[in-house]
């Protein structure tokens, strides 16, 4: 008895929580975002004499201040969501695809190539269809190469997909030297500026509406695919345990390759939407790191496409708000990047508190004696 009494509990003990109730985790996330905003406001107050309350006001104005800003918010949310949807099937299967960035970029590159080489040869609707097909195919190729190697030679898919990103970036840089316009700018400039050939058309005068609708459709399809289709079921089983999957007669290699093809295809569509629907140009930064943010979105949403829409919206909102603050305060745009870092840190950190509980050494037990 004495022995037990002498052993002290550690001051802080971390234990795993049971499966958290949805509203509890929601509260933790909301609190994390609130903390992140407070930290950002603190940063702004330290480096300028701006009123911290104005920081929040500016964030809201930066997203909802004008009609264009609201459309931009929705459009950027849609594109982040699209690439998040793309990474989800593979992740659910525990195939660590870190190559969404490259897969989307290669989709963007092939879209741009079609616009440049076929822009004056095909009527725009046909061209757009060709672009869509080519971008999907190229995204699939970029994704399936690591999958084949994984299935055949058991290579490490994280490293392989990660390296494919660099290959895609270099390919884009290489192509830019051919497509440079005007000469001397080292950029491609806006493709088909006058003819607008291969540009996704504006619906009801809203240039981004079509993008948003396409992504909405993909979201619903992805939800049904993952939740109600046989494929979706197979993905979950392979993700939980490959041996179980094999035991119940699932062809694991086939499922892996098929699922990765789906991921690659949706990445390709993201690249297509970025170039044809939004940027009308190509740079090495066209995807702009969204391929990596998407991984986070997918995980935070626990692979649920509708929750992903919410997370994408939140991240887009916060990023845009940070950018607005930098402009209004005439601060360097790097400040926006710092704030984004702070926000993401808190959001990711909140996952820890959802899954784990921190127990402080309580004095009550000692009182029991």
């Amino acid at each position: 008895m004495n022995n037990v009494k002498k052993r002290k509990d550690p001051l802080i003990r971390i234990s795993k929580r049971d499966v958290p109730v949805w509203w509890k985790s929601l509260i933790i996330r909301v609190v994390a975002v609130a903390f992140a905003l407070v930290a950002c406001a603190g940063l702004i107050v330290i480096i300028s004499d701006y009123n911290p309350l104005d920081v929040f006001k500016t964030m809201i104005e930066g997203n909802f201040g004008t009609e264009r800003k609201i459309w931009n918010l929705l459009q950027n949310t849609a594109l982040l969501l699209c690439i998040s949807l793309a990474v989800t099937p593979a992740f659910k299967m525990k195939f660590w695809n870190l190559g969404a960035e490259g897969q989307a970029l290669i989709g963007a590159l092939s879209t741009a190539a079609c616009m440049i080489y076929l822009g004056d040869k095909l009527p725009s609707p046909v061209l757009i269809l060709v672009m869509l097909v080519v971008s999907i195919l190229s995204g699939m190729i970029w994704a399936v190469l690591p999958a084949i190697f994984k299935a055949k030679f058991n290579t490490n898919e994280s490293l392989f997909t990660l390296m494919m990103n660099y290959v895609a970036t270099q390919l884009v840089l290489y192509c830019i030297t051919f497509w440079e316009n005007p000469k001397g700018s080292n950029t491609v400039g806006i493709i088909n500026f006058d003819s607008e050939s291969g540009w996704l058309p504006a619906l009801f005068d809203q240039k981004y509406l079509l993008n948003i609708l396409i992504v909405t459709v993909i979201t619903v399809i992805m939800y049904i695919y993952l939740k109600y289709s046989k494929h979706g079921y197979e993905i979950s089983v392979v993700g939980e345990s490959e041996n179980t999957a094999r035991y119940i007669g699932i062809n694991v290699k086939k499922v892996i390759i098929r699922t990765v093809l789906v991921s690659g295809a949706v990445c390709g569509i993201t690249g297509f939407l970025l170039v044809s629907g939004t940027h009308h140009t190509i740079t090495a930064d066209t995807v702009g790191g969204q391929g990596f943010t998407a991984i986070m979105v997918s995980w935070l949403a626990k692979f649920n496409p509708f929750v992903m829409a919410g997370v994408s919206f939140l991240i887009t909102f916060l990023e845009r708000g940070a950018g607005e603050i930098a402009t209004i305060l005439r601060l360097n745009q790097s400040v926006a990047a710092i704030m984004q870092g702070i926000i993401l840190f808190f959001i990711i950190g909140s996952d820890f508190f959802i899954n784990y509980k921190i127990n402080f050494r309580s004095s009550k037990k000692e009182g029991h004696k």
């Binding site: 609190v31 964030m59 700018s185 360097n332």
Partner: protein, 400 residues
Amino acid sequence: MKKILALLLAVVMVFALAACGGNNNDEAKDDFKVGFIFLHDENSTYDKNFMDAAAAVQKELGLTDEQVLYKSNIPESNECYEAALELVDAGCDVIFGDSFGFESHLLKAAKEHPEVQFCHATGTNAKTAGLANYHNAFASIYEGRYLAGIAAGMKLNEMIKEGKFTAEEAKMGYVGAFPYAEVISGFSSFYLGAKSVCPTVTMEVKYTNSWFDIAAEKEAAQALIQSGCKLISQHADSEGAPKACEEKGIPNIAYNINTSSIGPNTAIISSKISWEPYMKLMIESVMNGKEIPVDYTGTLATGSVQLTELNEKVAAEGTQAALDAAAEKLKNGEIHVFDTSTFTVGGKTLDENTLADVIPDANYEADTKVVSDGYYHESEYRSAPYFFVVIDGITGVIPE
């Protein structure tokens, strides 16, 4: 449960505070606004030059910080277009972009917003784009480089006289960004300036293929020094080359900034574009409802082309007087930088049928006759440079 309630309350409070964040907007005295889009920030000498001019004009015209909006570190991509639209949303009446690669993105924004004026430095399309609200501007910086070249030639002469090397060994090195007309026009005028006082001078060019790469510019300068260059100049945006020169004790002529703090013992002078005259013209035109020139070329005479303070410690004796005299002659047209009697191309003098690519087109066709009255008319048919000629005496102009 209590804890959760407390947390909830805390969150609600934060948002409530956010929502009622004060309405203490300063009453706008004047609703005029101007927006600037910069490729980098003040760490780039190229952008700093624009930012300094914007700040000076803001002060001179008495504009408040709310009236002058900055967007810095904007890449030459869709982000430029988005930045321009942000500035339109913020109520800007005129928007200025400082980088060549911004052009098509600014054109896209200009097309969608005819009520806002767009001014683009170094661009080429304003004359042919057919948009009333889109304008280009540049400066005849070749005049400044020519003068800087005179300072370089005099320094070479001094070193020859001191017996440091022979007249035949007088070779200069030039670190260029890309083999483009702007760069070629710049170093050709620099070379001609030096040649006008030191006839035996030759020059070697090395490109970094980047506008801003400290390491590459430094390495290129070191390689040029290694290959026997006695003086270095550059057309790239970092302090890489001046630093390499200071380390090796080689005289340097810079561009856009005064480098005498980086190279107190080697920096001679810099040529520089001052954007103040143009920015002032642009802002005042819009404020007074006047048209902004479609394609504006600032010159020595307008104060757009300048030289920084001469570093007397390094420069040859009498340099300042020579520069003043030459500047005066350039201004009144007594001498011309690209006087066809002062240089040859492949052993021949340029004749009046010489063509240059002035009108932008997909195939970069040379379309305009640019030689008349005995000189090459640079920056006259269009503000952005189009001089794309390989002058005898300069090596490495077109890299293999």
